[in-house]
């Protein structure tokens, strides 16, 4: 599916009334879900994966973009987040990112959910390998820097 209908909020309707579940999902993003390691509220290691993105334009349009291959519950999480974004003022404190490129100023937010190792082995391994790669790359760069010489020309 490559279609969507952006929601236009016009007139004096309050924000809460505009929540009519008319947000459409655009399956446009890659099928590869970015995953990474994080920590939960108690400090325990946790693997998260991105399942979609919400773009809230200043014109009132709300675009909900979901990755392909999501199950119904994950799509409903994306839709629900978009629906909640209608009646919530976005701010950077809440994880929203402000973008102004392409002449379309907007707020955008990446939707993430935790991943269980037993349920999504690929995502779990991808996050672990990505973290390991980042550590090895950082160590490699630090090793290069340790042998670097600074030449000062008079």
């Amino acid at each position: 599916m490559h279609w969507y209908t952006p929601v236009r909020i016009e007139g004096p309707l309050p924000d809460a009334i505009a929540s009519l579940a008319e947000v459409r999902v655009e399956f446009k993003l890659s099928t590869i879900h970015p995953t990474y390691q994080a920590t939960d509220d108690n400090g325990h290691p946790l693997v998260m994966k991105d399942i979609g993105m919400i773009k809230l334009y200043d014109t009132g349009e709300i675009h909900a973009l979901a990755y392909e291959g999501l199950c119904g519950a994950e799509i409903r999480v994306v839709l629900g987040s978009a629906e909640a974004a209608m009646s919530t003022k976005p701010c950077m404190k809440d994880g929203w990112d402000r973008r102004r490129n392409n002449g379309k100023p907007r707020w955008q937010h990446v939707i993430q959910i935790p991943v269980d190792e037993d349920e999504d082995k690929i995502a779990f391994l991808a996050a672990r390998d990505l973290t390991r790669y980042a550590r090895e790359k950082t160590a490699e760069l630090l090793d290069d820097l340790s042998h670097a010489t600074i030449e000062v020309s008079a």
Partner: protein
């Protein structure tokens, strides 16, 4: 096809989450009736606003009782999930599965 991580809430949580989803369904029904009405009235708009305010209050009470370290609890699209301070989502209860 991947599966969402299933969180197993307590029985009291399930009851309260079910109540939240019922409130959400009522709010959606009111909003749709308002949207398709030929002669929308102020009372209909106020009913939608009141139901939304009640849902928000119930969600906040649910968050303070069961998930005080989370930023927000949302009951939408037949699912109750929490959002952390950094915007990470964690499903709590799926009304269409349980």
């Amino acid at each position: 096809m991947t599966q969402t991580t299933q969180v197993r809430p307590l029985s009291s949580e399930v009851e309260e989450a079910t109540h939240l989803l019922a409130l959400y369904d009522e709010r959606v029904a009111l909003a749709k009736a308002f949207a398709v009405s030929d002669r929308p009235t102020g009372a209909m708009a106020e009913a939608v606003m009141a139901k939304g305010a009640e849902l928000d209050a119930r969600c906040e009470a649910f968050r303070r009782k069961h998930y005080p370290r989370r930023y927000r609890v949302l009951a939408v699209q037949g699912m109750v999930f929490s959002v952390s301070f950094t915007g990470r989502t964690s499903p709590i209860y799926d009304g269409q599965v349980s």
